[in-house]
Symmetry: C2
Subunit: 794 residues, 2 copies
């Protein structure tokens, strides 16, 4: 449909069109927004992890200068009783077709009756200035009767544990189980077996921009506009409309430039609804910008899973049966339900053919910050369990870990490969494409081959140096449904506008979707407007989470464009008196195939399509050049990668140096290699940050000990290796461009790869690292434990 001479933009490393504004200081983040008469909200937050609210006295605060309103949870409950169905509910109902049970406690906007984690909001002060609000907030007297804090998931399940949500009489608030084959029998019959516990600790996405919400109410139309640093403007809009009892048309949610999301901003938070509620209540715009300490204390954390794995295998290392029973410590609330646990369960299989498989998850409430998806969203925990297991099998049998993997891996000729389990969209899991062993080999070749490394390793050992090679492979279901929307419109000047529910947090979406549109329409990317993150642009949308936007929005754009192109050709054919079938797109024009110069511009077609006296549409063709398409993907497409870490461990200090870090990555067709590189490197760095540095540590009273960036050890550039990228492209057959998601992949494998590398480096000492993070003190403890196996840590 596009003429031959048109340049192709998909596949080119085009510079990001977003960067001009960001680099020249013209980006606008929610904190940059200033509205006339804007008030400032400050939350009063619980200092107790668990307790009963005896009383809140806001009298002194309300009398402070500049204070416009103080609101407590009890008062809010009277003003706005919760809406049935829950305002802080799942982004969409997951269609899990597996046995599961869930008690989803409904998170209040402000705590009522009890507090359940340090930092939980109990009241809010709205004042003329932020300083006035802060001063007044200090005078809100919150009388809390402390209760025993529940800080560890395992302990939380003990009969003697305090219970967070008394209505359920247990801290076990969710369970799910999936199984295929005959696991118990296969485990019993296996020639070899292993059983281990693996722990992935609590860390989280720390976007450079914290969260923030500004809302303004327009009494003229009783409508609200919400500016939120969110990944899901349409979900925020729906929830706010429901909470405020307004039609969705009266609520607009806008995400301006957003400084990183990583899943942390991927669902609805109380502030997304409470700030617009306050703005409407007091009749003036209200601003709340999260402080870094608030972010660490209140925005969702992630990971925090304890796995107990049993694996049965034969003497060649073939896995015969695998069972994983794991706990998800979901903190005080569970905003995403079973999604993370389900992600973990179905991603355990990784790139391997395992006939007998079972995973059982238990979701446990504790007095910690709620747990929600963060880049990887349950998959790093799965990769850690499975990839450590692969290495342990290799160690048991005296095989190379890569060889054990190769023997279990699904081969490209087996694609598409049905895995015998349902995905969380309810569809059977079928790996659609990919060359898993090929990727691993590519990574090994990049370091000169395995044998050469082993030689260097032996050489080093002779000099007392501990070098190690760690490999971790994974697969990732990306581009999950339920849908994404695209509106494609040709404006009267021939420019093309695309809007959607997808929201950018710095991924470069304006650039890559302009590339997609430019190819589909044979126009210059400069003539394309990509308008995302604003519900006023399109009524229905989903949002950007779960490595889904490139996959789903590109498909939605494709199909909307296909319909629109039929209309454009019908009108252009009418204008040029020729059959639509004879037409092609060429550089902003519609031309007759094989007849150079016989053409009309898209602008002329748009004018001809306009309603009115001068239109040149054929009979039966509606006016306007605008199509909305909702792409409802049948199921996910599977990306994959192998990460390879070469480390050196300093036995004296426990410190770990990463000499090389290689990623052989396959996300299908690559739209913009430079941006894919950025995604993979960024994800890998976050994965390494989690593996080596970042950690939320709670004490026994549920106080967060790493509640500032002085304590929560964010890695800096100097801490990170240079990440070497190798691309494979296995196009997905499931969408028109053949693309797969790439947002999260980088973060999945690093903890497993690094742990395997450390274990490989310390193999002579039979050191096992089965928990993250892997800080020097952990290494030293593990070394000590390997020498005194009775002292255990997890």
């Amino acid at each position: 449909m596009v003429g031959e001479e048109s340049p192709r933009f998909v596949g080119r490393s085009m510079p990001r069109r977003e960067d001009h504004r960001l680099l020249t200081g013209r980006g606008q983040f929610v904190a940059d927004l200033v509205l006339p008469g804007m008030l400032h909200a400050v939350f009063i937050r619980s200092q107790h992890a668990h307790g009963r609210i005896r009383a809140i006295d806001a009298g002194a605060a309300a009398a402070m200068p500049g204070v416009v309103r103080v609101l407590t949870g009890e008062e809010l409950l009277r003003l706005a009783p919760p809406v049935a169905g829950g305002q802080l509910s799942l982004p969409s109902k997951w269609r899990t077709q597996v046995q599961h049970a869930i008690h989803n406690p409904q998170q209040p906007m402000l705590a009522v009756g009890k507090v359940r984690h340090v930092g939980e909001a109990v009241a809010v002060v709205v004042a003329e200035s932020r300083d006035q609000a802060l001063d007044a907030a200090e005078l809100v007297a919150v009388d809390i009767e402390p209760l025993a804090a529940v800080v560890e998931a395992e302990a939380a399940l003990a009969p003697e544990s305090a219970v967070l949500h008394e209505e359920f009489a247990t801290n076990l608030i969710g369970e799910l189980a999936i199984e295929k084959g005959t696991v118990a029998a296969a485990l019993a019959a296996a020639p070899h077996s292993l059983r281990r516990r693996f722990y992935t600790h609590r860390y989280a996405g720390l976007p450079i921009e914290c969260r923030g919400v500004i809302a303004a109410h327009d009494p003229r139309t009783d409508s609200v506009t919400i500016w939120s640093a969110t990944q899901v403007v349409h979900n925020v809009r729906r929830a706010a409309a429901s909470f405020l009892r307004l039609p969705e048309a009266r609520v607009r949610c806008v995400a301006l430039d957003v400084g990183g999301g990583f899943g942390t901003k991927g669902h609805i938070y109380p502030e997304d609804l409470l700030v617009p509620f306050l703005a409407r209540l007091v009749g003036r715009p209200v601003r709340w910008i999260e402080e870094r300490q608030e972010h660490l204390l209140c925005s969702c954390h992630s990971r925090d899973q304890l796995h107990e794995v049993e694996v049965g295998f034969d003497s060649e290392g073939h896995v015969l049966a695998f069972r994983d029973t794991f706990l998800v410590d979901c903190g005080a609330w569970n905003p995403i339900g079973v999604a993370i646990a389900y992600n973990t369960a179905v991603h355990l299989l990784g790139p391997y053919r395992i006939a007998n498989f079972a995973a059982t998850a238990r979701i446990v409430a504790t007095n910690k910050v709620p747990n929600a998806p963060y880049r990887g969203a349950g998959r790093p925990e799965a990769a850690f369990a499975m990839e450590r297991t692969m290495d342990l099998i290799a160690q048991t049998l005296g095989l190379e870990p890569t060889e054990v993997r190769r023997r279990n891996m699904i081969h490209p000729q087996e694609m598409p490969c049905a895995m015998g389990l349902p995905y969380r969209d309810g569809e059977p899991i079928v790996y659609d494409s990919g060359d898993f062993p090929g990727g691993m080999d590519k990574a090994l070749q990049a370091i000169g081959g395995l044998a050469a490394f082993r030689q260097r390793q032996q050489e080093a050992r002779r000099h007392g140096r501990c070098l190690g090679l760690g490999v971790a492979s994974y697969v990732e279901g990306t581009g999950v449904g339920p849908f994404e929307s695209a509106l494609v419109r040709i404006e009267s000047n021939g420019s093309i506008t695309v809007s959607s529910g997808a929201c950018s947090q710095g991924q470069g979406m304006e650039t890559i979707f302009a590339q997609v549109v430019a190819d589909l329409w044979s126009v210059d990317p400069q003539d394309i407007v990509i308008a995302l993150g604003d519900t006023s642009q399109i009524a229905i949308g989903f949002g950007t989470i779960a490595s889904r936007s490139t996959v789903n929005l590109s498909a939605a754009i494709h199909y909307a464009s296909e319909r629109l192109r039929a209309k454009v050709f019908a009108i252009a054919g009418n204008m040029m008196e020729c059959a639509p079938a004879d037409l092609e797109l060429r550089r902003g024009k519609v031309g007759v195939v094989g007849v150079p110069g016989m053409e009309v511009t898209l602008a002329a077609v748009a004018q001809a399509a306009r309603p009115g006296w001068d239109h040149r549409r054929p009979a039966g063709v509606d006016a306007g050049l605008e199509e909305i398409f909702y792409w409802e993907p049948p199921t996910v497409t599977w990306a994959n990668a192998t990460h390879l870490a070469l480390v050196e461990v300093d036995m004296a200090s426990g410190s770990i140096a990463i000499d090389r870090y290689v990623v052989a990555h396959d996300c299908g067709v690559v739209i913009n290699p430079m941006l894919v590189d950025g995604q993979v490197v960024g994800g890998t760095v976050q994965g390494l940050g989690g593996a080596l540095f970042e950690e939320f540590i709670y004490d026994r009273q549920g106080q967060l000990l790493t509640g500032s960036l002085m304590d929560y050890a964010m890695p800096r550039a100097g801490d990170m290796p240079s990440v070497e990228l190798l691309h494979q492209e296995s196009p997905s057959p499931l969408n028109p461009l053949g693309v797969k998601g790439v947002g999260e992949g980088g973060a999945i494998a690093p903890p497993a790869a690094v742990a395997n590398a450390i274990c490989d480096a310390l193999a002579p000492f039979k050191v096992e690292i089965n928990a993250t993070p892997m800080k020097p003190e952990h290494i030293l403890k593990a070394v000590a434990k390997s020498r005194h196996p009775d002292r255990s840590r997890t």
Copy 2:
């Protein structure tokens, strides 16, 4: 399609939903808008009617405190050369299929080279405060070489006249002529003939809110938002996008509450484009709110036509031939081209059957404020010429004026009646429905019949009192194309949102369209959002001018709803496992006909229609419940009315008292009688204001002598009679609701009705009033002239 038990809202006098906000002070007009960092623009305007700009020195102004920018016409021309096609062009090309010629001078944003009317902007100052801008504006030294002012259209055509637009070498900048039959021959052969000149003076819509524009540029996306007190947000958006060289998607135009339009705000003004240009240039929001004096000096005036009529008739008063040659004094620029002249020409026929008819218009440039449509838009001038002629025929033949009318009127059994001329949409004029003599009779009955009045009149004369009865009938083509858009969407809570290009300036559109939607969908009007006046709601729209919105938007809503209902029924049928044909709408639900209780709510259908895993749409039905329809009316529908004025003239003072004023009005099906009454009364009051009080008077130098509300005599409530309304309803067969436009009608007939009444009152003195306004001094002069016929005024 709607169940029987549903209440009907169309036809009810429902209170205006807009009024709550307006009456509680929550309306928001453009002057209420405050943006952070907002600057203030003040224009420097010509004090000369005609002159050559020698130099503009802005140096001192630019150095004043707070001044951010001073811009002259020359500088603007360099920064933004005019776009081909003209940024201040017609709202849409009129498809006149008649002989016409037009030189449309392209109006600059700021004068370049010459000034052509007092008040024309030559430069603009942008400063931190309005006071600073005003102070600086006084220091802009504008050196103008005065040229002879051209103030009267007739004189402007004289060879010795100065020429405004030298490129055309004449002040005659437009001509058109329409004709049917053989006018010259029929005039020559007619037993009787008359020739008269009729003059309708210059007056205009004076909305309570002057114009105003605020614009903000978002450097993040290089987009602008324009808040303008305009009737045509989509036209402003298109023109601004063109002028700023931006895709339309990067320009949003919003009309908030607008305090009256009346056509004066119905086209694009320089400020609509210049203010956003300035905002983008200086990088801060810019505000310009028109002062009343500016409004009188710069916003378009109207009327100002001089007609020369020849009429031939037989002894029974049948009109055999009618020729009208008229001048339109269009002032310095001609923003609307031939539209007004064309309106006048084709409305001359009125409700009468006239076989031989010709109208020739000449559009003449003068050094006055540009002329553009104002409520009636060329029709009051036509009605004045024709309705005065009818009375003169009656006078000549000694017949009752109503009898002459009745003998010439088209009868209801002749409907639809082809008139043998094309409308300005290019379609043949066919009066679609109406009972013209019936309406006149109804008005006469309301005053107790003609004979009774004549008796009272005789009685009064015996006491030296001059009572008069004046009648004026007219027809009005309403609901002209080219199109209007409607987007109808059912939200997830079941509420229905409608958006469109139509813009309200106080007509009550939110109320009446909610009534239309409520009936179409069988829902409560409270569950309907009518979102108008915002280009972000729908990409393509036209706007509110020319008595068109009720007609065209109701039709667009109807057809969009029809399509959407098919989709709703398909999905509801799928949900209830029944055939869509068995379904009906009932009170927010879709139910099975004849099966009470078997139903699903619209909210449930909207949920089922959403894209995603849980949808319940049948195969082949797209997601979402949203339809856009562009109604492209085949041609206009014809409203009509007869106005009847009973006056008493005080011969001593020339003052006129209106004893009764009766309007028998037919605008087809009435959606909200209370609001139609408001429209008709309001229009009548404006018509009477023009007939008796309001007048723009220029001196020979082109200085406006009535440039404030002290001089321009706006009527007050106490000056106005109580208007008695009689409704007829002749449904239009041209649109689904049978409605006709009602916005302008009231203003068309009063000058003619009052003039006829005065002439009737003064019949014993043979006084002829053939010019407006009819102030006491004019009456006294006319009386004097009837006594000394050699002293003539027009």
